[in-house]
């Protein structure tokens, strides 16, 4: 049956490079230890900085007495928030001003809002001196009330995480206007709102985020054969990149050189400029004053999209002391400043027909936002749910609560993960209640084709996606996972119980509008500039294989330049958010078209005829009828002779100013191809994964093993199979970590974290991974992008996590857990009690 369907599905043409494995250009440096990450650089006379972190979860620094510290030999400078620039407003590509949040981070503070927030930095000849100096500093801190649990903060009379209040209010934008900046206000719910708390049901008081809905939710629930009303809590999880956000900086000729860890080489330069207050006369970040060097980054997962505001501390210190400054960030410091996924407390009322089709979803979420900028996870959880399960009617309500815990930021599948995590247990429970197979209930609710997503826009219409082949992914999974055979196996034997689970997951799969830049030089090679960050997803080189493919140039004759904004890089998408493969296969396609245009024009000029009479292949541009032609090397030489648009002296309009500056620097070296992706797209690009898992639970200890796991991805055309497989299984494992153990632990009375290191936060080890892991990808091209490729980093997370969680409830029933992670103690205590025995709603336990 599956084979028949396959024959009807769209296919891409055969490619020489696309879809093939290859050795990425960074690999030899990595295996030999020569690859340099931020902490691997040394500079003459380099000094060291150490941070003094807030000992209190919320407070105000009344006085800092650093006199003893400053007297110490070897202490060079102390930096406080008074030395920090006020962050400049951000400007969009369209010139829209996004005002800096007055309650945003500045790197250091006198008003700490979480324990571990940096208050000051000491710069000294070595770290030992810096640390001893810090111990001599006397801090006079006024303690303020703190809240580490969002629900505690919402109680009548509950504490506020900030002096201004405890909830981010998000005013809606007037039509055609940018949204006004968010504000902090105080919101408390009533005792009546909290009546159901003791039963583990999420209280639903006033929701302050802009509510949205579509369809008739009430009717949908009323007419349902089954209505489930379920509370589920997802964990706060630190990104815990293996490389902390260490940075080293120095100034030369008025420019700051920053060695840092980032997901975007190109976009970090304006971010650093903005944080440092370096703006040009138009108020735009002055990227001519910043050089970002980051050839290798040790993981990001969304926490280093444009590096980190902490990176400006060594920048400013370096200016102050006139020497290079290295600021190493320790693992414990990384817990504090390294970002984390915000947890969502969710309560969903979901109606089902007796066949398992969802009739309506009424969703309510409380987001533990941390103390700083309001995160998008809460709203995104609803959007992704609306796409993944296609409820015909849905209402979303939410509240963004501030807590005195480390700042949050997008983490792999931000919000999408939480939406999937809140919904999947309900789908699994409905499958049991209705007697509908787990896969079947996912299949009947899956998006198909240009499926709608999210709330209606201002025109009253809902947006839709570019494509979705989730049913095909489920069908592939049924077969490859041998679902039916496993389903027929007994559930209990001896002291063990078995279960199988499936989960589907989705996320944004790509953005548009970025630039491509390459030079075909007279040596016949193609020099490709890449401003994508290199964190090992391989997108920094993978995407550019499209250019080589289209120009018919062997990969060995392509050189990728990346890793430093001093190396003439184009404006690029960060490596993150599942955006890059889509964004930059498009940009690579656009730049290849530009190169082809220029090549055929040069050929027509020299050899006669019209450009369209020529084609480009096999390192040549030649007349379609055969015969006349020239090599790319010859054409490159001619481009230099012709100048103008051909060698980069004249540049097209519409490309980013960073790309302009880079192309200008490369002008005259060969045929300069440069273009912005302005290709059309009908729909919002999204990617999908179906996850399948089997677990065996030890009923006497609560421990479980993941026997088998399969992820089937619908991500469009496969660009680089090994990198794709690494992403599919790697991000699935990140999700599995959320299922099996990753979490935060806070003592609520003191507002202090108890779990700050790997040993406490429990990122999975190699022996916690499923005993068998497989992946597959449908390789069906997306119809709305030239090569058909979409991003993959995000959707496996929810699929990995919830396939495990659903397998656990398949093995154990519905009365064991109501939150993730599901650990041995939770299972054993609930089995013993015969009901969920872990506190359902207390945060960070």
């Amino acid at each position: 049956m599956a084979a028949k369907i396959d024959n009807q599905l769209p296919k891409h043409p055969p490619y020489k490079l696309i879809g093939k494995n290859y050795t990425t250009p960074d690999l030899i440096a990595k295996v030999t230890g020569r690859a340099k990450y931020a902490e691997d650089y040394r500079a003459d006379g380099m000094l060291f900085a150490k941070l003094l972190l807030s000992p209190v979860p919320h407070g105000h620094v009344r006085n800092i007495d650093a006199s003893e510290a400053l007297k110490m030999p070897g202490v060079k400078a102390i930096l406080t928030v008074d030395d920090m620039p006020k962050p400049a407003d951000a400007m969009t590509d369209l010139g829209q001003r996004i005002p800096a949040n007055p309650l945003g981070e500045r790197g250091l503070t006198n008003d700490p809002v979480y324990q571990g927030e940096p208050i000051l930095a000491v710069c000294a000849v070595d770290e030992l001196t810096a640390v001893e100096a810090i111990e001599k500093i006397k801090l006079d801190i006024e303690r303020l009330p703190h809240a580490v649990d969002p629900l505690v903060s919402l109680r009548p009379g509950g504490p506020n995480a900030r002096v201004e209040g405890n909830v981010w209010m998000r005013p809606t934008a007037a039509p055609g206007q940018p949204a006004p900046p968010p504000k902090v206000a105080e919101v408390k719910w009533t005792d009546a709102d909290f009546a159901e708390y003791k039963d583990g049901k999420l209280p639903m008081g006033k929701a302050t985020d802009p509510e949205w809905s579509y369809g008739d939710v009430e009717a949908g629930l009323k007419n349902a054969a089954l209505v489930l009303d379920e509370t589920f809590v997802t964990p706060n999880t630190s990104h815990q990149t293996l490389e902390t956000r260490t940075a080293m900086a120095y100034w030369q000729n008025g420019k700051v050189y920053v060695h840092c860890s980032t997901q975007s080489t190109a976009q970090t330069a304006p971010a650093i400029a903005r944080w440092l207050g370096l703006v040009d006369d138009k108020g735009q970040p002055d990227i001519s004053k910043v050089v970002v060097i980051s050839e290798y980054t040790g993981g990001g997962f969304g926490s280093k999209i444009t590096s980190s505001i902490a990176a400006i501390i060594p920048c400013i210190l370096s200016k102050k002391v006139g020497a290079p400054v290295m600021m190493r960030i320790s693992r414990e410091e990384e817990h504090f400043i390294g970002r984390a996924r915000p947890s969502l407390h969710g309560r969903l009322k979901v109606g089902f027909t007796k066949e398992g089709r969802i009739t309506a979803v009424d969703m309510f979420v409380v987001m533990d936002n941390g103390p700083y900028d309001p995160q998008g996870d809460a709203n995104q959880s609803g959007r992704m749910l609306s796409l993944m399960y296609q409820p015909p009617a849905m209402r979303w309500r939410g509240i963004t609560v501030l807590t005195n815990t480390p700042p949050r930021l997008s983490q792999s599948q931000p919000g999408g993960f939480q939406g999937i995590a809140l919904m999947e247990p309900i789908l699994a429970k409905a499958s049991r209640k209705l007697g509908v197979d787990q896969v079947a209930i996912h299949r009947v609710n899956a998006p198909v084709g240009k499926a709608p997503i999210g709330p209606p826009g201002p025109n009253g219409k809902r947006l839709y996606v570019t494509s979705a082949y989730v049913q095909e992914a489920l069908d592939r999974g049924i077969e490859q996972f041998q679902w039916e055979k496993r389903k027929a196996m007994p559930k209990k034997s001896g002291s063990k119980a078995r279960g199988i689970g499936v989960a589907t997951s989705c996320f944004v799969g790509g953005s548009i509008g970025f630039d491509g830049l390459c030079v075909i030089k007279p040596d016949g090679k193609v020099y490709i500039q890449s401003g994508i960050g290199n964190l090992g997803t391989a997108s920094v080189s993978d995407c550019h294989r499209v250019t080589a493919e289209m120009l018919g140039v062997p990969w060995e004759k392509c050189e990728i330049t990346w890793g430093s904004t001093a190396k003439n890089l184009p404006w690029s998408c960060p490596s993150g958010g599942s955006q890059t493969t889509h964004a930059h296969t498009r940009a690579a396609y656009a730049v290849a078209l530009d190169a082809k245009d220029k090549l055929t024009q040069i050929a027509a000029k020299d050899l006669g005829g019209k450009p369209e009479d020529y084609e480009v292949a096999n390192e040549r541009v030649f007349h379609k009828g055969g015969g006349r032609g020239m090599t790319l090397a010859q054409a490159a030489k001619r481009a230099v002779e012709l100048g103008g648009i051909y060698d980069g002296h004249e540049l097209p309009k519409g490309i980013n100013k960073m790309t302009v500056a880079s192309a200008q620097a490369l002008a005259g070296q060969g045929l300069v191809a440069v273009a912005r992706d302005t290709m059309p797209r009908d729909g919002q690009t999204h990617s999908y994964v179906a996850g399948f898992a089997e677990v065996e639970v030890d009923l006497e200890t609560g421990k479980y093993r993941i026997l088998d796991f399969l992820a089937v991805a619908d991500v469009g055309t496969i660009i680089h199979p090994r990198a794709l497989g690494g992403q599919v299984l790697g991000r699935s494992m990140l999700g599995i970590g959320h299922a099996i153990g990753q979490k935060w632990v806070y003592d609520q009375h003191y507002g202090l974290p108890l779990a700050k290191r790997f040993h406490h936060n429990k990122p999975p080890t190699i022996l916690d991974a499923p005993e068998k892991m497989e992946w597959a990808a449908l390789d069906i091209p997306d119809p709305e992008t030239p090569i058909g490729a979409r991003g993959i980093g995000e959707p496996p997370v929810g699929a990995g996590c919830m396939a495990i969680v659903n397998a656990l409830s398949d093995a154990l029933g519905d009365e064991i857990f109501r939150r993730a992670p599901v650990t041995a103690d939770v299972i054993l205590a609930s089995l013993e009690a015969g009901k969920p025995a872990t506190e359902g709603l207390t945060a960070h336990i």
């Binding site: 150490k50 941070l51 003094l52 972190l53 000992p55 770290e127 030992l128 640390v131 810090i134 111990e135 001599k136 500093i137 006397k138 801090l139 320790s330 693992r331 414990e332 410091e333 196996m489 007994p490 209990k492 034997s493 001896g494 002291s495 063990k496 065996e696 030890d698 006497e700 200890t701 609560g702 421990k703 153990g741 632990v745 806070y746 003592d747 609520q748 009375h749 003191y750 108890l754 779990a755 700050k756 790997f758 040993h759 406490h760 429990k762 999975p764 080890t765 190699i766 022996l767 916690d768 650990t823 041995a824 103690d825 939770v826 054993l828 205590a829 013993e832 025995a837 960070h844 336990i845």
Partner: protein
């Protein structure tokens, strides 16, 4: 004073080559001296700048503290012998498989390559309040932060708590107790030998120490008599992650069965109290009984007599019960496992 971590304070380092020199240094520097074996417990304390000894006596160069030697029908294991050496030793594996199993489940391969048996049994409590530098009873203060209404005490004690509710985290300790091992301790005055069971102390005895070792004392060797050589062993460790993590609860038992009855047995558990707990009452109750489900159930029930769970560690009660049960009748594997 502002708190800052992750840089070790300066100390004077000694790396003696002989046990005599080591004992001499410990005597000389007394309370100022910190004894370091593999260093895996030590470095956390020093890097957190919580403990600041002026002198560190690193035993890594003392060759006579390492090695596994036959002694009587049993073995003498130098205190500085690494866990990997113990895991790889054929005699340990063949005759005292209980210790082999326990050592193999400690932490990670690299930690076993460096961590020593002496260090594993002498390590300090891992309570995250205490280790976080909170000034609790164990740290010389007058409160137990893990036993307040807001405390997160999932990993803490259900037995024998006295003010402090931390647990002993060692995996090899209960195995050694079950094997009736003896600890050889030296100081300047000479050598003494104590039963493994008596090596560990609870907060009621001294709330700041985990073992009987006092300043100047050095654990030099662990002797395993032949009493339990080749017996039937059971070791199980339940932990969160399968690498690095300390036990939530572990159990070690050595038993000799004859004609389906329990002729003699020793059972010890850890992760439930500030010291590894030998379950003498259980041993006495099951001795002479048939090795069956009823006896195992009875043993499990008896093991949890007097258990007092805290807010978040109630699961340890059934876990202890079930592990003790299994230590007698084994695991009922699923038929699909074959």
């Amino acid at each position: 004073m502002a708190i800052v971590r992750d840089i070790m304070p300066a100390f004077e380092l000694f790396q003696p080559a002989t046990t005599d020199d080591a004992v001499g240094l410990l005597a000389k520097y007394g309370r100022d001296a910190w004894v370091m074996g593999g260093g895996l417990d030590t470095f956390d304390w020093l890097k957190d700048r919580i403990k600041r000894p002026s002198v560190v006596v690193d035993l890594s160069q003392v060759n006579d503290l390492t090695g596994i030697r036959p002694m009587g029908g049993g073995l003498e294991i130098g205190a500085l012998t690494t866990l990997t050496e113990i895991v790889r030793n054929p005699v340990v594996k063949e005759k005292f498989g209980l210790l082999h199993q326990a050592a193999e489940l400690v932490a990670s391969p690299q930690i076993r390559n460096q961590g020593t048996i002496g260090g594993n049994v002498s390590q300090d409590a891992r309570c995250w309040y205490y280790r976080g530098g909170w000034k609790c009873y164990r740290a010389g203060g007058n409160i137990c932060f893990a036993d307040t209404p807001s405390a997160i005490n999932r990993e803490h004690a259900i037995l024998d708590a006295d003010r402090c509710v931390a647990v002993n985290p060692s995996d090899t300790a209960p195995a050694l107790i079950a094997l009736e091992a003896q600890m050889v301790i030296r100081n300047r005055k000479g050598e003494r030998v104590v039963e493994a069971e008596d090596y560990f102390i609870g907060p009621a005895t001294d709330i700041t120490r985990m073992t009987i070792l006092k300043p100047g004392d050095l654990l030099t060797a662990i002797r395993i008599p032949d009493k339990w050589a080749g017996a039937t062993f059971y070791f199980e460790k339940v932990r969160d992650r399968q690498v690095w993590d300390f036990p939530l609860v572990n159990v070690a038992s050595a038993a000799v069965y004859s004609g389906g009855n329990i002729e003699r047995i020793r059972i010890a558990v850890n992760g439930v109290a500030a010291h590894p707990v030998r379950l003498k009452a259980v041993e006495d109750a099951v001795r002479g009984k048939p090795r069956n489900a009823a006896t195992a159930d009875m043993a499990g029930q008896l093991a949890i007599q007097g258990a007092e769970p805290l807010r978040y560690n109630g699961y340890k009660v059934p876990l202890l019960r079930n592990l003790v049960k299994r230590s007698i009748r084994g695991v009922e594997e699923a038929t699909w496992a074959s």
